[in-house]
């Protein structure tokens, strides 16, 4: 769907200006007009109102466009979204919200703007006008999407906007909300200008039906509260007052007031506003509340002043950027340009008016969640990762295995370059399937091994073309003709299909496995079953914290759950145990021994394995000895005083043990501290926060010694995968320790300041899952493509010794490899493009197998096709990995800039080549990429690319490595966390409550929310939550008694508690790691941490808010276009 159509911005502004003063009036007046549309929308009434509101937002949007592209986007999006939403019924919300949000943001950003602020409101009106135009564009854009068409209707939407204004008044409910917001804002405004701005935004969001006024006010409070003390009160009042005030307020309430209010704040702020809007408001609010408020009040209502400003803006809108400039200046380096742009008008965008991830997710879920996704058709875009859907394999690999950034590949490299859309596939070769879906079939082609193309060695797949009556087949990748081996011959039917087409998985399915012959094995020998070696740090810290005892206890039971091949009675995996501090202790747990034997190796400089027989044992045979060992380990080291540890030798030891046993395997290392003991791989503490934001920052991500890289190579060669569980109390250099883990396809788990009581569950769950999960060893993956494109770049946790083969010592079901493709020739639309991902690995039973995934993609000669078949989540996955790798070699700032630049180019290309002509001030986003800005912003704000002061170097390195092997679903929720209002949950159903957007203003003081990002779960409790709820959930009687050290929710027998716990359990099931539960009380210290995850808001560390960023993007795009 196209997003913002601000082409008309110019005119809107013009109008707005006039409108401004008149604006309100006009707007309202306009509303009535829209009223007509109203009628039209009558059906939509509900939504419509939203729409109307959106309209105003558009106005604001426009302002934005001037300021930066973003705002328009919001505006446009609103329209489009509205339209789309209207259909879906969700649009309303956005509409309502956007307006409000816009002001919100503005105020902070554009405070200086005060004058401008006025314009902002103006801009909103302008949007109204714009509205007309945008729709058109929308229509154009929205070719394929029904929503798009709706968008066209949205064109009418502009009128709705008008209507919106009108409607609010006219439509009771909507208006109610609306008016509430508007009026509320207004009133607050009048009451106190300072507060109003914030309130305004809130009001706006509130306006949205879904979130309803209630949440709004509460939210406001919270958000504002921190910043604006006064507002809360006002807001508090506001809500109540809103309704009444609605009538009057309307005119002013609209953007104008809020903006003005903000702007008001701005004036004082003028200087400050540049940077952080939030702070200024607060400060402003603080000081100004009284006087300024009033004074401000004057101004804001006076919209008049704004008018002038407006005019200015309008005029300037095209040329004036002033207002915005400063704002962005703060937020973005590029701001200056920003400023040059029409900035001023963009001022406030209504957050509700800009594309909402929640909306998109919900839409996709309701549209595509119900029917199975059948993979028979080439180039089909699968449902979003957030949607629950079943897959039927009919010749292409399930999206659970492979997802592409685009399912339509440009035919030529020129097109690809022009669009700048990266062509990448995110491959998860061993992904876990839901129980309803069949596992890949195992195919045995006998002694001669799988049938393959003679030239390119591609494996037999559904796309191979059998010719000459089935005697030969033509390779779909390289077109080479290969004889069909006699044992594989089969006649063709009249359509040219083999008669046994449906009997053979490799001919009819997208994913299947071959049984590998001895030719595919190392040293031409079938592999032995792999081994797991548990290596436990027993230095003082580990013992003292109870960790050692915990691990030993857990291992006793966990050993019964080692992964096994489907039908096997017991796991073939052998286990071994090592403990270590400054020296290593190996254990002989041979079944014939009465007691385990411990062997100490102190020669860490030259590691070796002291025993052969009895180190790696079958669990069942040596059960008693192992149990005895695990009982004794904690006792033996109970009095240890050794604080130093080694690390390199530990891995070496594991490696040597596997070498000696001639098998692949996995090391589970439980480690607590920086390895400073004298040994190979000794590290020093080189943490230095001063390096952040310097050219040397990249060194923090690089390993401090090449020792581990070399070690990793050896590990990969042996098939020794390393999983690392870290329990640091201080810096331990994850960047270096993780190298081996990373390159061998292992996982790192990090539990900072591990405490038995709070972190035990998380660790144990992670450990259990890590031990039990399906895993392949000694894996090599190669991606073959049809002629014309080529896999050129790979991201993930693996090692590459050449340019084509991805080698992984271990590959588990959660590990993902992202592959980028580049053209080396032309593709044809007819034949499309094919991918074949072949993974050779050793199963946990020691069987050598080949897993093949095939995927066919369309090729296009029209850019529009490309943009229509993109998948933003996958794109973000790729971009994040690309950027996270970039920080190793470039300054972080450069990485951020290049990310922004690339996205701007993608969007600009769309705008230039696909969108219908429209005013330059309009931000138009492709439907499939309308979330790109918000997600991209999240990536840019992530800890790796923009660390806050509390983020440790280790955390950044950890996250960096973690993200590199994440799949699309994980990156999606990691960058845009899921925020669920628990109090809205339906206690009687299984479903999750509808998610809400990650912004503080969406939070209500009276509710409890849950936020999860794949690593953490936050339960946020508002100050005004009913005591009953608190009692039900926490088992304490009041808010103040809630302990924020809880790591789990108490088990209480009441529906609410049960529901919440079941939600949390459900979330845990969805994620590969057990998430840490953190209880956050509103206004508590921890809330800062929580707010960090409200990614649509401006972050304390300088990350832009969604709205600001959108503006910035718009500016960038415009720059590119001009």
């Amino acid at each position: 769907m196209s997003v913002n159509q601000h082409t008309h911005a110019g005119p809107p502004y013009g109008q707005p200006q006039p409108g401004y003063q008149g604006y309100q009036q006009p707007a309202y007046g306009g509303q009535p007009l829209p009223g007509v549309p109203h009628t039209q929308y009558g059906a939509y009434n509900g939504p419509m109102p939203g729409y109307q509101q959106p309209v105003p937002p558009q106005g604001s949007v426009r302002a934005l466009p001037t300021s930066g592209a973003p705002p328009p986007a919001s505006g446009t999006s609103l329209p489009s979204g509205h339209q789309g939403y209207s259909q879906f019924g969700q649009g309303d919300v956005q509409n309502g919200i956007p307006t409000s949000t816009a002001p919100m943001q503005r105020p902070p950003a554009s405070q200086p703007f005060l004058p401008g602020s006025a314009p902002a409101p103006v801009s909103q009106p302008s949007t109204f006008q714009q509205y007309g135009p945008p729709p058109s564009s929308v229509q154009q854009l929205s070719n394929h999407m029904a929503g798009m068409t709706i968008g066209s209707t949205s064109i009418s939407a502009p009128p709705p906007a008008g209507l919106g204004y009108g409607p609010p008044t006219s439509v009771p409910p909507v208006s109610g909300s609306f008016s509430a917001t508007g009026s509320g804002l207004y009133t607050p405004y009048t009451a106190s200008q300072g507060p109003p701005p914030p309130s305004v935004p809130q009001g706006l969001p509130l306006a949205q039906p879904p979130f309803s006024g209630q949440s709004v006010p509460t939210q406001r409070l919270p958000t504002e509260v921190p910043g604006f003390a006064p507002p809360p009160s006002s807001t508090g009042i506001g809500p109540s007052s809103y309704p009444p005030s609605t009538g009057a307020p309307r005119p002013p309430p609209m953007p104008g007031p809020p903006l003005s209010g903000q702007t008001v704040a701005g004036p004082p702020m003028s200087q400050p506003n540049h940077v952080s809007s939030p702070p200024p408001p607060s400060t402003l609010s603080g000081p100004h509340p009284g006087p300024p408020m009033s004074g401000l009040h004057g101004p804001p209502p006076p919209t008049h002043p704004p008018q002038p400003g407006y005019q200015m803006q309008q005029n300037g809108s095209f040329g004036q950027v002033r207002g915005p400039q400063p704002n962005y200046g703060g937020a973005y380096p590029g701001t200056p340009n920003y400023g040059s742009q029409p900035g001023p008008p963009p001022k406030r965008l209504d957050p509700d008016s800009i594309p909402s991830p929640i909306q998109v997710i919900e839409d996709d879920r309701s549209n595509r969640g119900s029917e199975p996704f059948v993979t028979g058709v080439r180039g089909q875009v699968p449902p979003l990762v957030t949607t629950n859907f079943l897959v039927k394999d009919q010749g292409n690999a399930s999206p659970r295995y492979i997802r592409c950034t685009s399912y339509n590949i440009p035919c030529t490299s020129d097109m690809a370059k022009q669009s700048q859309v990266p062509l990448a596939a995110v491959i998860k070769p061993l992904a876990t399937l839901p129980p309803e879906e069949a596992l890949p079939y195992l195919v045995d082609h006998g002694e001669s091994g799988p049938v393959r193309c003679n030239r390119c060695k591609a494996y037999m797949c559904p796309f191979m073309q059998f010719i000459e009556g089935g005697r030969r087949f033509q390779c779909c990748f390289c077109s080479c003709v290969t004889e069909v081996p006699a044992h594989y011959f089969q006649h063709l039917d009249h359509t040219g299909k083999r008669v046994d087409f449906y009997d053979r998985p490799e001919l009819s399915l997208g994913s299947y496995e071959f049984l590998a012959t001895v030719d595919y094995c190392k040293n031409n020998k079938f592999p032995s079953p792999p081994a797991f070696i548990f290596m436990i740090d027993v230095s003082y810290n580990a013992v003292k914290s109870g960790l050692v005892r915990l691990i030993c206890e857990e291992l006793k039971s966990i050993l019964d759950y080692l992964p096994r091949e489907g039908n096997m009675e017991e796991s073939a995996i052998r286990v071994g145990f090592v403990t270590y501090n400054k020296v290593l202790h190996f254990y002989n747990v041979k079944s014939s021994l009465a007691q385990p034997q411990m062997m100490v190796v102190s020669d860490v400089a030259d590691m070796f394995v002291p025993l052969l027989d009895g180190f790696l044992v079958n669990v069942n045979e040596s059960r008693t000895v192992i149990a005895s060992l695990l009982d004794q380990i904690p006792e033996m080291f109970a009095d240890t005083r050794e604080t130093e540890t080694v690390f390199g030798p530990v891995i070496q030891a594991g490696l040597e043990a596997l070498k000696a046993a001639e098998c692949a395997g996995k090391l589970f290392i439980f480690h607590t501290s920086l390895p400073i003991a004298e040994a190979p791989g000794k590290l020093k503490n080189r943490d230095d926060k001063k390096l952040i934001n310097t050219d040397k920052e990249k060194t923090l991500f690089q390993p401090q010694t090449s020792f581990y890289s070399n070690l990793a190579k050896d590990c990969v060669a042996q098939g020794c995968c390393v999983d690392l569980f870290l329990f640091p109390n201080q810096y331990l250099d994850v960047a270096t320790l993780g190298v081996v883990t990373y390159q061998t396809g292992g996982s790192i788990y990090k539990y900072a300041y591990f405490q038995l009581e709070t972190d035990q569950d998380r660790f144990l769950n992670d450990l259990r899952r890590d031990v039990q999960k399906e895993v392949g060893f000694d894996a090599v993956m190669r991606v073959r493509t049809s002629t014309g494109i080529r896999a050129t770049d790979f991201f993930g946790a693996f090692y590459m010794s050449n340019t084509t083969d991805v080698e992984m010592a271990g590959l588990d079901c959660d590990k993902t490899i992202t592959v980028e493709f580049k053209h080396d020739d032309k593709l044809s639309e007819d034949s499309g493009a094919l991918l074949q991902c072949a993974l050779l690995y050793t199963s946990c039973a020691g069987q050598r197998r080949l897993r093949i995934h095939n995927l066919s993609l369309n090729c296009c000669t029209q850019l529009a096709d490309l943009y229509r078949n993109c998948e933003t989540d996958t794109l973000i996955n790729y971009l994040a990995k690309y950027a996270y790798r970039g920080v190793l070699s470039s300054p972080v700032k450069a990485v951020r800039d290049s990310l922004i630049n690339q996205c701007a180019q993608i969007l600009a290309c769309y705008r230039k080549n696909c969108a219908s002509p429209s005013s330059a001030g309009q931000l138009i986003l492709p439907e499939c990429m309308k979330l790109l800005p918000v997600y991209l912003n999240c990536v840019l704000k992530s800890d790796v690319l923009q660390p806050g002061p509390e983020v440790t170097t280790d955390d950044r390195a950890y996250i960096r490595q973690l993200v590199t092997s994440m799949d699309v679903a994980e990156t999606n929720v990691f960058f845009y966390p899921r925020l669920l209002p628990l109090t809205k949950a339906d206690v009687d159903s299984d479903s999750l409550p509808a998610a809400i957007r990650n912004s503080e203003e969406r939070l209500s003081k009276g509710d409890i929310y849950l936020l999860e990002n794949g690593l953490n779960i936050f339960v946020w409790v508002g100050v005004n939550v009913q005591q009953g709820l608190i009692q039900n959930l926490f088992g304490v009687s009041s808010f103040s008694q809630i302990s924020n050290t809880l790591s789990t929710l108490p088990v209480l027998e009441n529906p609410f508690s049960k529901k919440v716990r079941s939600i949390i359990d459900m979330l845990h099931l969805q994620r590969s790691r057990y998430m840490k539960l953190i209880i956050v009380k509103q206004e508590d210290k921890l809330e800062m941490l929580f707010k960090h995850f409200l990614v649509e808001d401006k972050s304390l560390t300088g990350g832009a808010s969604y709205v600001d960023f959108l503006c910035h993007m718009h500016k960038e795009i415009r720059q590119l276009l001009s």
Partner: protein, 786 residues
């Protein structure tokens, strides 16, 4: 004192000393002309059940360079309570405790019968004995089992408070921690890497950090010297534990592929053992007992590669300089041995394998530290089992026959200087006025360290008469020598044994017959043999033989009586009569001849020769042959092929072997089963007699000799045939008594030839003969030796 023989015997019994000359030539010049140097065999700890040790400290001469111990030879002024040192003539005051001294009330050390006296002194803390087992696990299953049993058995033989430790090795080395409950714990080292003592101690966690906490509390300081470490524990505490541990010992688990030797890290294992003791119990009595079943094949100290197709070095390879690991390995073990000696510990080597085990390279470990060296075919033989058991034998008074960390100091009167010592000792490099510049053996010092010794351990100590010819010693003057041995007794007491002897000086020109009469040819033979063997270690074999021959010629020239050009007129006095015979057998002995012996065997023989006392040494030089027949009681017979008669049973004792040989007829009778017939009971007794005698020898000897029971024509008869003087060979078997040709080498001819040489001084002939001898020695089959 009737004869010198009695005198010598008496002296030996009392003092454990036998001098080559019991009357000393009074000038340097004369002494050199005596050919056989003035030297003695000293058995420092000779068992003296009749000698109760005294419980006080010896009284020392106050001159700092002297410090001789008060002895019966000192002049004492009872009234003034003064005594004059008989070595430096310093006059010393008696200590206060001797206030009551008088002619009638003499302290023991002044009584003549106490020329040897032992003091028990209380010095420092008493540390228990330490036994550190270093066990090779690259053994065949039965061997390992037998070894394990022997080791377990040995635990019961150890003193209860002794500390034991266990190190096992194969491809890796495991140092077992004995103190832990439940889980058995060991430190593992790889066998390919040499580690310094400090590294080893660090890795074993022995290096004591600067215990800062304890410094605050002075009271705890005394607790510091806790006499045990994790690796060395009192036997009574961990008896069961260690027994189990030994029981669970497995063969080295690392696979040995076809055509390879197992990887055996003996060098590093020893190094770790040494480092462990060095760090924990320096200067305390400790035995490192190495049990190995094959050659070291990796790491420092490796003797041969692990490829079976390259055989272990032979004498041939060594002569050709083709033993690529030998020098390096020898250096490694020498370094270790020296370190061990410095720490006062000793190393025993128990090597049981059919092939060589690298004793040549490792010999210094035992030689320099006074440890035992035992060589056998397998641990699963009674030879090893009983030998090992005998290590823990107890003496007459119920004490272990072992002592540690002895420090032997020799003091001489002015006319004498010390030239050196040969035996299981190392020099302490103590220079002094009585140290000669000419070295014989380990010289340049007046003190030696003998880390491990038993009552039989005997050192050869060589002296030099330095009195100038023009400064005659007054008539009746006596030269004196004092041996002071400080050692740790097996009861962990510190003891000092002091032996002071004196001999008369005689002017060689006027009193040669005195000197001649006082010649101890047995001692002289052994002393010369030791010198010869000592030289053979570092020199080419033929040179040594030539040197020995020349010495013999010179001796005969000096003391023989003959008429020029008349060989038959040659006579030697009684006191010299056996000497040439000893030399003859010495030349043929495995100590000087390497032919038909592996380098390991040579090292083994030489090791024992350098430490056994006179009697045993003589047996080694000239084996004893007894004959049993119906013609009379058992009688010693000539070690000659003519002694082999069909109706005789022969019992030969070569120290290393006991051979019972049945003559042809006897063997036939035995086969016919006459011994089982009651009417031939005397035959049964005849058969039994040598067995009983052999048993008696077997009971007492350490190490256990190889026991061979064979008969005429038996393959094992070679043991006998290779030793006897081949006066009869297949060349002359049918022509009794005929001297066949110039190559004949029977004793008499040999002697005659020497006489001829002496008489004719025909060097050319001499060399021809020697050449012939060598040819004879070069025959492949000992049985065919001519």
């Amino acid at each position: 004192m009737a004869t010198y023989l009695e005198f010598i015997q008496q002296n030996e019994e009392r003092d454990g000393v036998r001098f080559s000359w019991n009357v000393w030539p009074s000038s340097r010049l004369e002494a050199t002309r005596m050919v056989v140097p003035l030297a003695c065999l000293l058995t420092p700890l000779r068992e003296r059940p009749d000698l109760p040790p005294v419980q006080y400290e010896p009284v020392l001469c106050s001159r700092p360079t002297c410090k001789a111990v008060l002895n019966p030879l000192c002049q004492v002024d009872y009234r003034a309570k003064l005594w004059a040192c008989n070595f430096c003539f310093q006059r010393n005051q008696f200590p206060p405790a001797y206030a009551g001294i008088s002619e009638v009330n003499q302290p023991a050390e002044l009584m003549p019968q106490f020329s040897t006296i032992e003091y028990i002194v209380q010095r420092g803390p008493q540390t228990p004995l330490i036994f550190l087992y270093v066990v090779d696990t690259c053994l065949e299953e039965e061997d390992l089992q037998a070894l394990k049993e022997s080791l377990q058995m040995s635990l019961s033989l150890l003193p209860a408070d002794a500390l034991v430790g266990l190190i096992t090795f194969g491809r890796m080395i495991q140092v077992h921690e004995l103190s832990c409950e439940g889980i058995s714990k060991s430190y593992v080292f790889r066998g390919t890497k040499d580690l310094t003592a400090k590294q080893i101690q660090d890795m074993l966690g022995l290096s004591r950090p600067a215990v800062p906490i304890q410094q605050g509390r002075p009271l705890q300081a005394p607790e510091q010297p806790v006499i045990s470490s994790r690796f060395l524990q009192p036997v009574h505490k961990i008896d069961m534990n260690l027994t189990d541990l030994l029981g669970e010992l497995q063969r080295d688990p690392w696979p040995v592929t076809q055509g390879k030797r197992p990887l055996r890290s003996t060098g590093v294992a020893l190094s770790i053992a040494v480092g462990l003791l060095e760090g924990t119990f320096p200067n305390t009595g400790a035995r490192i007992m190495l049990f190995t079943g094959g050659p070291p094949t990796q790491g420092p100290g490796m003797v041969v590669g692990d490829e079976l197709k390259t055989p272990i070095r032979s004498w041939h390879d060594i002569e050709k300089d083709n033993a690529r690991f030998m020098k390096k390995a020898t250096k490694h073990y020498e370094t270790l041995a020296n370190r061990t000696a410095t720490n006062g510990h000793c190393i025993d080597i128990y090597a049981c394998a059919l092939d060589q085990t690298g004793l040549l390279e490792m010999k210094c470990c035992a030689n320099l530290t006074g440890g035992h060296m035992v060589m056998g075919d397998s641990f699963n033989t009674s030879l090893f089992k009983q030998t090992f058991q005998r290590v823990f034998n107890k003496g007459l008074n119920g004490e272990f026959r072992m002592a540690f960390g002895a420090n032997l100091e020799v003091k001489t009167s002015r006319e004498l200087k010390i030239a050196g010592a040969i035996g299981p000792c190392v020099s302490l490099n103590v220079k002094g006025p009585c140290v000669s510049e000419n070295e014989l053996g380990i010289g340049g010092t007046s003190q030696w360290k003998i880390c491990g010794l038993d009552p039989c351990t005997t050192l050869a100590i060589y002296f030099e008469v330095v009195n100038q010819h023009n400064a005659p010693i007054p008539q009746g003057g006596r030269g004196a020598v004092q041996f002071v041995t400080q050692y740790q007794h097996s009861s962990t007491q510190k003891r000092i044994r002091v032996t002071t002897i004196a001999r008369n000086w005689a002017d060689a020109q006027s009193q040669l017959q005195h000197i001649e009469a006082a010649f101890d040819q047995e001692a002289a033979a052994v002393l010369m043999a030791r010198l010869g063997v000592y030289r053979a270690e570092s020199e080419e074999g033929p040179d040594v033989l030539r040197w020995l021959d020349r010495q013999l010629i010179r001796l005969c020239q000096k003391f023989g009586q003959y008429n020029k050009d008349d060989p038959n007129s040659f006579r030697l006095s009684e006191s010299f009569s056996l000497y040439p015979q000893f030399m003859f057998h010495l030349r043929r002995s495995p100590f000087l001849q390497v032919f038909n012996n592996s380098p390991d065997e040579s090292s083994y023989y030489r090791h024992h020769f350098a430490r056994q006392d006179l009697t045993q040494s003589l047996i080694m030089i000239q084996p004893i042959l007894y004959a049993y027949s119906f013609h009379g009681p058992p009688e010693p017979v000539l070690l000659d092929s003519s002694s082999i008669l069909p109706d005789r049973i022969l019992l030969m004792d070569t120290f290393f072997q006991i051979v019972i040989y049945l003559g042809e007829t006897i063997a036939q009778w035995q086969k016919a089963g006459y011994q089982d017939m009651p009417e031939y009971e005397n035959f049964k007794h005849l058969l039994q007699a040598p067995l009983d005698d052999a048993q008696e020898i077997l009971q007492t000897r350490f190490p256990m000799p190889r026991y061979v029971h064979t008969e005429h024509g038996g393959s094992q008869a070679r043991f006998l045939l290779s030793k006897v003087n081949p006066s009869q060979t297949h060349n002359n078997l049918y022509a009794w008594g005929q001297v066949s040709n110039g190559r004949a080498t029977c004793i008499w001819e040999y002697c005659k030839m020497y006489i001829q040489i002496i008489v004719c001084i025909v060097a050319v002939l001499f060399y021809l003969i020697v050449f012939g001898l060598r040819l004879g020695a070069g025959c492949i089959c000992p049985a065919l030796l001519i």
